[in-house]
């Protein structure tokens, strides 16, 4: 595959992040959450709401609010670009890459990408039935929850790569360590392997600690030109490369995996070469990884799919401590979706921004010039390579 040399790579940057608290019952409307996170991100960047001329977001089955609503509630000026997409966790990196392209083309100067939802007290995606044609074959037989679909892949992946419960558990344990230092995280109690293995199955092969924790909350990141970024509050995070990929026969909806050939390789295997090739960066150059982790297995599959680990070696890699703060590749440094909360990967991007900027506090990776981020678990998804301004 030929990789386009031109494009937004190196010309757009992430400059700020914003959050609401992550809770089990926000007591607020999704619009209120969205506006709070967007305003916080803009302020964090050292920009003003008047500077924003683009918004971008995603939702699953109308669980969020459209960009125009956020613009109205915040009293923004004219929007020069918006993107409201019907996607779940596949979206965050994709939307950041689209925002970077908008900025590079001159369509907009400051684009805020957000995700807001009452994911715990409102509609819960984890057990949501998706509109579309695929569900009629799944729901009647009791195959109707997202963790069952990802679990179906995990079982095959573990079997084919010779990995098992200790490998899944290592991911949960490694990430829980980071969460202890993250005030936003909902799961902050330490986790040991024997306690993990003693947890009953929710859906075999997953125990409770293999699964993300659903939350109410919002998260936003700000994209602008690299040139403008250099004058703002924090060091620019260059959007060096981005890539979306749906592999062949991705199904009728996000739960329809029946026509997918190989349950042991997800979209990360399909976008890897383009992602790294466009950035001119090799796997060995990556300092920090933020891998989408609605369930533990997607971290293992992502590490292998991106080529950060050899096939079948991701579990041993995590068990060796390589993904910890003192390891070779600090991974999911905020505790991830598993411990921080299920903001569908928007917080995964935000954590990468904080790490590259050197704002990770007690969980800051020592080397943080290059980060890779992914969004999504199964047939389709997206990824970014973010770098310091070098």
């Amino acid at each position: 595959m030929s990789i386009p040399a031109s494009g937004p790579g190196q010309t757009a940057a992430l400059v700020g992040v914003g959050f609401t608290p992550f809770t089990r019952a926000s007591g607020q409307s999704v619009l209120a959450l969205a506006t709070e996170a967007v305003a916080n991100a803009v302020r964090d960047a050292g920009l003003h709401l008047d500077d924003v001329d683009g918004l971008s977001s995603f939702m699953v089955s109308d669980d969020s609010v459209p960009c125009v609503a956020v613009s109205s509630a915040l009293g923004l000026g004219p929007l020069r670009t918006v993107l409201d997409v019907q996607l779940g966790g596949q979206a965050p990196c994709h939307l950041v890459w689209q925002a970077a392209q908008s900025v590079a083309r001159g369509d907009a100067e400051v684009v805020v990408v957000y995700r807001a939802l009452n994911g715990r007290s409102g509609a819960r995606v984890g057990s949501m039935q998706f509109a579309g044609m695929g569900g009629q074959y799944r729901y009647p037989i009791g195959y109707g929850a997202y963790l069952m679909y990802v679990g179906m892949w995990a079982q095959r992946f573990l079997n084919e790569t010779g990995q098992g419960p200790d490998d899944l558990g290592a991911v949960a344990i490694s990430q829980r360590k980071y969460a202890q230092d993250n005030a936003r995280a909902l799961r902050r109690e330490p986790l040991a392997l024997d306690a993990y293995l003693a947890e009953p199955f929710v859906v075999d092969p997953y125990r409770r600690s293999d699964c993300t924790v659903e939350v109410d909350g919002a998260c936003a990141v700000v994209v602008t030109s690299l040139e403008r970024a250099r004058d703002l509050a924090h060091p620019p995070v260059v959007v060096a490369s981005g890539c979306y990929r749906a592999g062949p026969r991705p199904g009728l909806d996000i739960g329809d995996h029946l026509l997918w050939e190989d349950y042991t390789r997800n979209y990360t295997s399909w976008l890897r070469d383009e992602l790294f090739g466009r950035a001119g960066i090799g796997q060995g150059d990556v300092d920090v990884a933020e891998i989408y982790d609605c369930f533990t297995s997607t971290v293992l599959m992502g590490l292998e799919g991106l080529g950060l680990c050899a096939r079948g070696e991701s579990g041993a890699f995590v068990r060796s401590g390589a993904c910890g703060l003192d390891g070779r590749l600090p991974t999911n440094t905020g505790g991830g979706l598993l411990a921080e909360g299920y903001l569908h990967g928007m917080n995964t991007v935000a954590e990468a921004v904080l790490q590259v900027q050197g704002r990770g506090g007690t969980r800051q990776a020592r080397r943080h010039e290059v980060a890779v981020v992914t969004s999504g678990a199964l047939m389709d998804g997206s990824a970014l390579i973010l770098t310091a301004d070098r």
Binding site: P140, Y143, M148, M152, Q155, R156, V202, L259
Partner: protein
């Protein structure tokens, strides 16, 4: 395509908690991706749900429910008459 209804378990999950409507009254239950001898794959419950492993040989069965007919699978070694007589009934499906 004609199918013998025979296949092997490509992968499976076993629900121990009611995370989906359907067979919540018969936990635990297993759903498998079954690769038929002819190549295509199908989703179906496995009766009985365990023990189950990837690569297990299974055979398809049909059972009529009130408003629909279910395709499910059972171990190829089982006594079909014994198992098919008592398939689990799903909870009311909307």
């Amino acid at each position: 395509m004609e199918s013998t209804g025979r296949g092997v378990v490509y992968s499976f999950v076993t629900a121990h908690v009611a995370v989906s409507p359907g067979y919540v009254g018969s936990l635990p239950y297993s759903v498998a991706t079954v690769e038929l001898e002819e190549g295509p794959r199908l989703l179906g419950r496995i009766e009985p749900p365990s023990p189950l492993a990837i690569g297990d040989r299974v055979v398809s069965r049909f059972v009529d429910h009130a408003t629909w007919t279910e395709l499910y699978f059972e171990p190829a070694t089982a006594h079909a008459s014994e198992l098919a007589a008592h398939p689990s009934e799903p909870a009311a499906y909307p």
